[in-house]
Symmetry: C2
Subunit: 596 residues, 2 copies
Amino acid sequence: MTAYKAPLDDLRFALFDVLGAEKTLTGLRDGEAHSRDLLDAVLEEAGRLSEQLLAPTNGPADEEGCHFDKATQTVTTPKGFKEAFKQFAEGGWTGLTNPEAYGGQALPNVLGTATTEIFQSGNLAWSLYPLLSEGATHAMEMHGEEWQRERFMKPIVEGRWTGTMCLTEPQAGSDLGLLKTRAEPGDGNANGHTNYRITGTKIFISAGEHDLTENIVHLVLARLPDAPEGSRGISMFIVPKFKVNEDGSLGARNTVAAGAIEHKMGIHACSTCVINLDGAEGYLIGQPHKGLMAMFTMMNAARLSVGVQGLALAERALQNSLNYARERLQSRSLSGPKFRDKPADNLLVQPDVRRMLLTQRAFVEGSRALLLYTALQTDVEARAADEAARKAAGELVAFLIPIAKGVVTELAQESTKEALQIYGGHGYIAENGMEQFVRDARIITLYEGTTGIQAADLLGRKILQLQGVGFKHFLQEISTFCQQHAADEALRPFIAPLAVATKNWGDLTLKLAARAQANPEELGAAAVDYLYYSGYVALAYMWARSVAAAGAGAQSAAFKQAKHDTAKFYFARILPRCLTHQAAIEAGVDTLPAIV
Amino acid sequence: MTAYKAPLDDLRFALFDVLGAEKTLTGLRDGEAHSRDLLDAVLEEAGRLSEQLLAPTNGPADEEGCHFDKATQTVTTPKGFKEAFKQFAEGGWTGLTNPEAYGGQALPNVLGTATTEIFQSGNLAWSLYPLLSEGATHAMEMHGEEWQRERFMKPIVEGRWTGTMCLTEPQAGSDLGLLKTRAEPGDGNANGHTNYRITGTKIFISAGEHDLTENIVHLVLARLPDAPEGSRGISMFIVPKFKVNEDGSLGARNTVAAGAIEHKMGIHACSTCVINLDGAEGYLIGQPHKGLMAMFTMMNAARLSVGVQGLALAERALQNSLNYARERLQSRSLSGPKFRDKPADNLLVQPDVRRMLLTQRAFVEGSRALLLYTALQTDVEARAADEAARKAAGELVAFLIPIAKGVVTELAQESTKEALQIYGGHGYIAENGMEQFVRDARIITLYEGTTGIQAADLLGRKILQLQGVGFKHFLQEISTFCQQHAADEALRPFIAPLAVATKNWGDLTLKLAARAQANPEELGAAAVDYLYYSGYVALAYMWARSVAAAGAGAQSAAFKQAKHDTAKFYFARILPRCLTHQAAIEAGVDTLPAIV
């Protein structure tokens, strides 16, 4: 059983003090109402909901898991899930960031990201049901036709249905070009819209079948009969579990159904399904053979959310390991007893326990700033008045997403591992709840693109193919920040090493790009270490900004001191990891010879 | 379902080529018969047993788990465990390294360490039942009285009973000084031996109750009535599950029993018990209040074995991830298709996948050499003709055990994590077996002393208190090795960086010792990073020796090339981690300020 309290002070600090979100948001199109007060109220309500409704279900739902009934091909979710989803939908959370025209609240993405953290901390497995819907509605909004949005997206926004992303097949994981599911023209007459018959098997479909809503809208990647081979021959289809009549009422059961649910290391309460399509009726979204573009629309949003999952798990694990370190009495301080009236000192007197706590804090709060920063840029991309600003923000987002997903998820695994370690042997016992965070966190470096895929996206696509446009914006921004604060005494210990690391990042990138042009294998040999290097510099920037913001903020002295302490720790003991990654990057592909 | 094949070639290479074990062992007292041929035959037999009898049970037993019957306070182990234990005992494996006088085979510890790896790879949870016995027999051999050895140790050596170590209590984990279990004088007349009545509650007792043997001998830490407070007031007692008559037959049930078994993250098939003692009859081992010394006898052997657990899990995870990378077809090589007749290339063409495989190889094979090196020193310590050699070996062992336990277990977690990562999403699915390795591996940095405890032991006790006697032997040995191979062309890329890292290790140690004298908190602030630094240099030494051995050995060119490639990888991409740990060590306790 683990505690959870929504970290509202830290969320507010990151949003308003570090990132200046109020100023940015109220300056955007349709953003006049997005004041700090409004956002604050939403955060508080999300906190209440998560603490009361979701957080208590986390352990029990993991133990209960989902149950699949083979005869009816239905999934029963754990106790409390259905009621929680009902309240979540009634509160309007399912449409928080969707357009008002489709029943949404049209609130900023950065707010949605913050509330997603809160809900995912409450119960990650539960939060996957509404999360997958977000990608689906986003894809329909961007690529669908108006009737499709009305018929399939709106009910999801309203929380009456949910959505899925049906990509993976047994032989097609990271390489979607290998997928075999096929779509054949239907009778052409389904409510006046061109329909298709989809046949194939999808695996690893999160929330693919459940009892939370009356219908499920699958977005399915498949090949049309005339499709070119590989990833240029993939189209995307809407395939509802129940067919939908023109008036929006449910029709007959479609021939898409769960064949099994997976037994997994963690997120037991999320139904991860094998989905069989047997001539299921579906509708094309977007252009034929352009399904990957629509998929990436879903995927980018999903990747940011998976980064947030890492943050959410690490935050709750941190809270509990801090509580434990405070309460557990064991041994004495190296410099003599500190709790003389107790049989032993608490764990906080041990420098090594503080090292583990500060590691978690540095990752959690640094990651939060980075994720919210990225999310805020998505709002700028969507709604800035100035086209150049929208374009620049979009480029920045594209550059940051692989870092935010790739690095934050890896650091979250380290973070939850340290949290468990603080518990000693008690961390290994299921009832104490820490091991669930480690198990749950193990999926996040795998799904929505493994760490290797994120690294290849960052280095291969965002840096080399796109010639680092987003990277240049980010470097420029850090450089401006360093100049602005060059004379600030309190920031002196941070600005110089940040400037050095940033310059070095640019130099490394240029050298690596040259080597990759001579031999593309160099890209693969360096990518993951380059991803880490990038992540550590990005977090250093966030920590320097946090120190600057703490200096100017209205928080308590203790709050500000904690930010300063954690930043100091980060720069002294985490940022030097760049040295190792640089050595690995420079070592090149010669150090990774063939294995047969 | 995962495969396992005992890595006999690698074990032989480490034992005979890298470490020259045959020469060392046959030169020891009673070691004339310990030829390579004999050891080889034992390894082969262990491999056969593990592959056929244990390895197939690993997944099913994890799923089945242990079952506790509250009414009878008994534990049922998973299917196949009892039969496997019977065959194991009949084969003489339970007494492999014990003295012949008590029914053992008196074979070298280094051979026991190698076979323990093989059995633990087969099924870690199963192997914990005989493993705990080893510590118990060792403690009785070193500290017990003759009648105790005859009555309680011999049946364990013969595989008729097993043993446990009952240390931890709810309020006393890392800090055994807090333990409350009390021992009161008994009626003084139990078969003519002074007896005691032991009362208290022990937790986390591995193999504390099971159905594999007819009796269980608990070695229990408790306080006598006149005991001083803290760790200087702890005594050790033999407390059998069933009392034992003078003729060795079983008597009445003793009042020591399992109260529950824990639900854990992993090693589900090992019964981890709450053990309640309610005036249970027991016998003092060794001197009153000197129980910690006897405990450390058990603990040191157990710590080395837990290091081996890391190796064992990482070895099997590596084997499976390599198979998967070879067979899984996904995407194309960055430099163009390599498997033109297949729909995609295998994963081995990806440099990043090779990075993950080489990381595992570097850790697994480097750890194996380090663990066997340490085990061989325990044989020298026990049986060298020359007293100075015995003393030096003992000092080296004491120095190396916290490194071998602390670092190997941490690297094993990283290694199993990488193995799972290679599987992508399939690694998260229970049926594929990879996630079990990650779950099982999570205990090894916790039990028998957390990583923090190992680090404190290394830096606080072995370096500072004992003035680094073992460290000096090790530095001297590396230095001699570097000098001997200074002119060796093939070793050139390894000798210089090894010499630099080793010198730096010494310098860092001196500076740190000076700082710790001024402020003991500096010790805790640096300890874990110092542990890692030490481990990476120790593995570098093992890899340099492996390259030297491969140059002289009779193995195939491919085998030798693989050793060379892995060493190159290690020096280029892993050893630079020392840079980061050095920065953290030098950052000092100021970067770990108080947390309240």
